[in-house]
Amino acid sequence: LAKTTQPISMDSYEGQEVNITCSHNNIATNDYITWYQQFPSQGPRFIIQGYKTKVTNEVASLFIPADRKSSTLSLPRVSLSDTAVYYCLVAAYSGAGSYQLTFGKGTKLSVIP
């Protein structure tokens, strides 16, 4: 089963680029890596998803090295509203023809004015 590891917390000033890395060993060959954002009193919300190399959307970029044992979420020029908890999610084959989605423990990002 894939395990995911992320930093517990990070601080950043407004306007800076923030990179949050998630380590995931034993990720299966065909699994996507997905990142979520969660504000207090809300459920997590999808940000970005990738399989390999680099993916970019209007919110963030996702960098995945060739060995796929880690991934880095990049938030350009953060603002106060980006203060949230960020989770990585990987799917791992758990036997008997099924797979299990495993979240990291989350990284609490605090953006400072």
Binding site: Q42, G43, P44, A91, K105
Partner: protein, 113 residues
């Protein structure tokens, strides 16, 4: 937009009571999930379902059961609530094609006294 609705935002129950947490999604998703979220532990998977009347155990199924009689509804059952089941419970759904892109409800904060 996908909507995942959890029946209660806050719930207070007594030890030993049977508790039902209901979740309904409106996007005809095949996959549904129940997670619990605790400070410092992130999101942990309790049960999931890939089809009607189908269920699989996640990482922490002990003390819980689930029911999926209809595609849009996934219920979490605490047969005999205990204080260590005080937690935030999050329901999510995803399509078969985009299985790692989860859509979450707003959560139910359950307190067992």
């Amino acid at each position: 937009d996908v909507k995942v609705t959890q029946s209660s935002r806050y719930l207070v129950k007594r030890t030993g009571e049977k508790v039902f947490l209901e979740c309904v999604q409106d996007m005809d998703h095949e996959n549904m999930f129940w997670y619990r979220q605790d400070p410092g532990l992130g999101l942990r998977l309790i049960y999931f379902s890939y089809d009607v009347k189908m269920k699989e155990k996640g990482d922490i199924p002990e003390g819980y059961s689930v029911s999926r009689e209809k595609k849009e509804r996934f219920s979490l059952i605490l047969e005999s609530a205990s204080t260590n089941q005080t937690s935030m419970y999050l329901c999510a759904s995803s399509s078969r094609e985009g299985s790692e892109k989860l859509f979450f409800g707003s959560g139910t904060q359950l307190s067992v006294l």
